[in-house]
Symmetry: D2
Subunit: 340 residues, 4 copies
């Protein structure tokens, strides 16, 4: 019974169907096909604003390519210390930007705060050639610790960034989970709140391999097609990626899958109340179960990662869109029966 | 009736089946799954040698990542002037290698010759810090002009490269077509002939998006996993790419599709004899049909690209694995009925 | 008796004096000192236009940093096949630009012609993401073969570049020699002719280590200070470089040294008439003296490099600003007495 | 009366003499001249070990080029949060290494401790492709806060790095000041303590523009000449840089200047006892003088930088090799007379 990560999940039937449908006949390669050609329009409708949308196959590619369009090599990207772009992408942002630097902000739940953002910038000398220049603020929605920025929180941070002449990137590998949690319009946590570019994830939430880079600030998009090709991320048969994204949006799959995963996470959160390290706002839980508790859960057949320092007795549970309900119930029961 | 490129083709049913089968249950992400774990073994069997194999989703990624493992930034890669890495990858090799230079060799049919290779090297001063240092020879098999290096030709070039302390890369975007044409063992044009690393293409020949980087020289593979991740080319759900490659090899799909495309190309070559600019050895034809001939073929519903200088009356025809036979027959008839 | 290169030369007394004068007292570091602060003004006067000028210590740095301000990583720089940036900088332009490509034009005397420039561009597909995009034309003045572009020639090439949306760089490692030869106003072969940025060399013509990057198109200069610092080329005690450049311009040293070297080159050209491979327009000569002739000259104590293919009997002679006159006379005599 | 930085200082007469002497006659360019040819030998004698030494003109170049020889692009360099390579080089290490990451360690006096080093590494997963891999430990000697690692401290940290398969770099922009303070053999804080490569600074301590990169681990030096040229840091007339370094070492200038600056810093430290934020072990002092104290010192004609957060009343004083003694006495008096 796997609760290790949502990237262990299978592909939703809607996605497989879309791939099969895209296979009916030959078509124009790269992104000249009918599916890719509709991407920007479909995402514009989704977000209620004119956007430019591009498909790629990994979240790392989405983040790095977006950032490369937003900062010169001598620029800097402010992100949370726990951000995926800092911790889990083997330096891809540095590679794609030509060596820009990540400046690390603190904050509970892996959320940057206006104060922690200001603290990072306070150390930097604007216009001084001896230092990299802060150019981008990157927020993760939902965060690496399963928490969600409210529209007001995004707007406050983005506003502070803009006041410094910076643009705003959002890593939305779990954007659907955040959106389902907030139950707001997608515009409210993106362009209306000041986000310029979004890495819009679908893979963890039911796609095979499909992420979109969405430019709300379309001026930033001009270099994207060249940088994507140059990174080897313009696929020869691009229709099979775009078709996934269209199905994901147009069939409402994004919401169904995210709501299901979030709901099951809440079921577990309920069972584990008192052990939660952070609020559960998406599909991830961070718990203190103790070393003995972790051992016991594993003995009952549950798979998950330890978290935090060795011996801390903390664990991470991730609920996928396709998580089997009886497994969730079993885990809930197991959590409830752990000795306090 | 499309003869524009084999990247307009659909995906083979065997490949779609493999994807569906890989979707049965959750599994380990990235390349920890059972399909990815078998890649090196399956390719080792295919090539008759211990290899290290890695999956990526584009030919550009395969080529660039392989080359980045083979040359320092101050190195140089000798390739044909017409090579895809030089002409059609938007500088991806330069990006991934950190700015290594491509040195361009001449040669009919887009084939490098021992003489043209020597001519390139004659201009370079080995060990002189003022110049980039030739480190890699990159051959394209089949070439961009539809021709194929024989085992002896590969061996001669690779031997010359090794004598200069260089390693040898092969861009095999259409490796299956070349292999089907030669009807030899895959070892004969790779490791037995001195090739160190191969970009093994499957996408143009029936896969959805699947290319393998094969290291015969396994010492070169050490950095690959890091460079792949850093490039955003390690997919979260890697099984769906690896499963394509396994199906492609293990069901013999590579050969069936390549032989079919090659045979249909021969049918067209027969019809266009006298107009051929190069020998037809894979699935591409380059013809002189005259401006009027090109107009006429298009009027009959055939789609293809002009080739060469504007007004040259030269065209390119590419036959895909899924080309409809009656279209091929129709094109053959149309070619035969063109005025001489 | 060295005729190998002008980079073997000593430093002019005027330059040493300027360094000593700059040493009188502590001052603001980097380029905040009084000498550096005057650079842009002094070069603006020299060129008769508002320019931004920056000091660096090598021609490779000047060229690479300028180009990095002129092209994105997915761009291309058109230069002559013989250009220093292509042949003798170990890929520095590729390094500094983040992997932009050099596209090589042909042309006698290492001069690009409108035809050879057009031929390079004819192969490139503008706006096609599969290809690097031509962004810069780089001309070398004087060329690597000792020839000089006239104002009209520069203007014609720059005009063609601008018509394609490209900017124009000039590698002026031997700019003073070219200017002395043409005896025109420096504006005539730079901004008036369409040059956007110039690598203005002083080192080969009497400085210790001083080159200036001059931006006529000041919009291109915005990133320069950051890229220079990031490249390690902003010197801690910048005054000692700027002071060289000021002395070089303000004392007329550039002209005195260049005229002297050019005149001595003409003396040798006169002696070697009939053997010249190219017109002698600056301080370099390329001669056919035969293998035996080269041997004989060396036996008489002259040092120089062979040129062209091995056994061609071609040699290069470079006259430095500080060349001893009797050595020049001796060489002239030796050349005249060579058997025809 | 400037106490802002030792990079405001003039050039020592011994250095100017060496430059003038190197100007006697033409010689081989780049580093083929007699001065450059002696560098490795002279530094080998100085350090009592076979080293490879290379000259460059800036500390940023020295650090970045050294690091580029020590880590792949997907590697990481552990340094102190206050390290010059992190704070004051505009991302040059990231540029030269192809995007490697700096991992920041804490520690009083800008000194990394075994504990803070271990804390950084504890967060990193060795061999995990999702993360950059720690490859280098970089220590600054003397630190940015004017403190000095003892031989035992260097050895402990280097030993810990080696145990992790990392190599050790030392940023010695103020190496002479550290060495003079410790009064030990240069070997004791370098190769004997486990340092693989050293950026050996001379510019701040009396040179015009001269830093050496010293490889104790000569295997790491193989790529250096190519990377230096490619970075534009191989000077055409290299003799004028190498001659500075030879004079700096062979005349004992390094020690005379460093001892003088250190002694004057001690004089000030004595005057400011009770206000020192850190031990004074080289030529820098960090003091708490209060806002009013700072104002008063400036009113008396002393120039220096504020330090720390705005309004903290902290200042930095740097004593240069050429600091006028009466200025130092005046400052000492002023410090002593500040109200407590």
């Amino acid at each position: 019974m796997r609760f290790t990560s949502d990237n262990t999940a299978t592909v939703s039937p809607e996605i497989l169907s879309a791939i099969v449908e895209a296979n009916a006949a030959p078509t124009t390669p790269y992104d000249g096909d009918p599916w890719s050609s509709r991407l920007s329009e479909v995402f514009s409708n989704f977000f209620g604003a004119e956007v430019e949308a591009f498909a790629v196959t990994s979240g790392t590619a989405a983040n790095s390519l977006a950032l490369a369009c937003m900062t010169p090599p001598f620029g800097a990207v402010v992100c949370h210390r726990e951000a995926h772009i800092n911790v889990d992408e083997c330096g891809a942002p540095e590679f794609y930007t030509g060596g820009a630097k990540l400046l690390l902000a603190e904050g509970r739940c892996a959320k940057i705060t206006p104060e922690s953002f200001a603290a990072v910038l306070a150390d930097m000398r604007v216009g001084d050639v001896h230092q990299v220049q802060p150019k981008v603020l990157s927020l993760t929605q939902a965060t690496e610790l399963g928490c969600v920025y409210t529209p007001a929180e995004v707007a406050a941070l983005a506003g502070a960034a803009k006041a410094r002449g910076m643009t705003v990137h959002m890593d939305g590998a779990r954007f659907a989970n955040a959106l389902a949690h907030l139950d707001c319009h997608p515009a409210d946590i993106t362009w209306k709140a000041g986000v310029d570019a979004l890495s819009f994830g679908a893979t963890k939430n039911g796609a095979l391999a499909a992420e979109a880079v969405i430019f709300f600030n379309r001026d930033l998009a001009a270099q994207f097609p060249f940088r994507r090709k140059r990174g080897g991320h313009l696929l020869c048969k691009g229709r099979y990626i775009s078709a996934q994204l269209l199905a994901y949006i147009e069939t409402g799959l994004w919401r169904r899958n995210a709501e299901r995963a979030n709901a099951m996470a809440q079921r577990l959160a309920q069972a584990a109340r008192g052990r939660l390290l952070y609020p559960v706002e998406a599909n991830e839980l961070f718990l203190n179960v103790g070393i003995e508790g972790a051992r016991q859960l594993r003995a009952e057949g549950f798979e998950f990662y330890d978290w935090g320092a060795e011996g801390s007795g903390q664990i991470r549970l991730v609920v996928s869109w396709d998580q089997v309900e009886v497994h969730v119930e079993a885990l809930a029961a197991a959590l409830e029966s752990l000795p306090v």
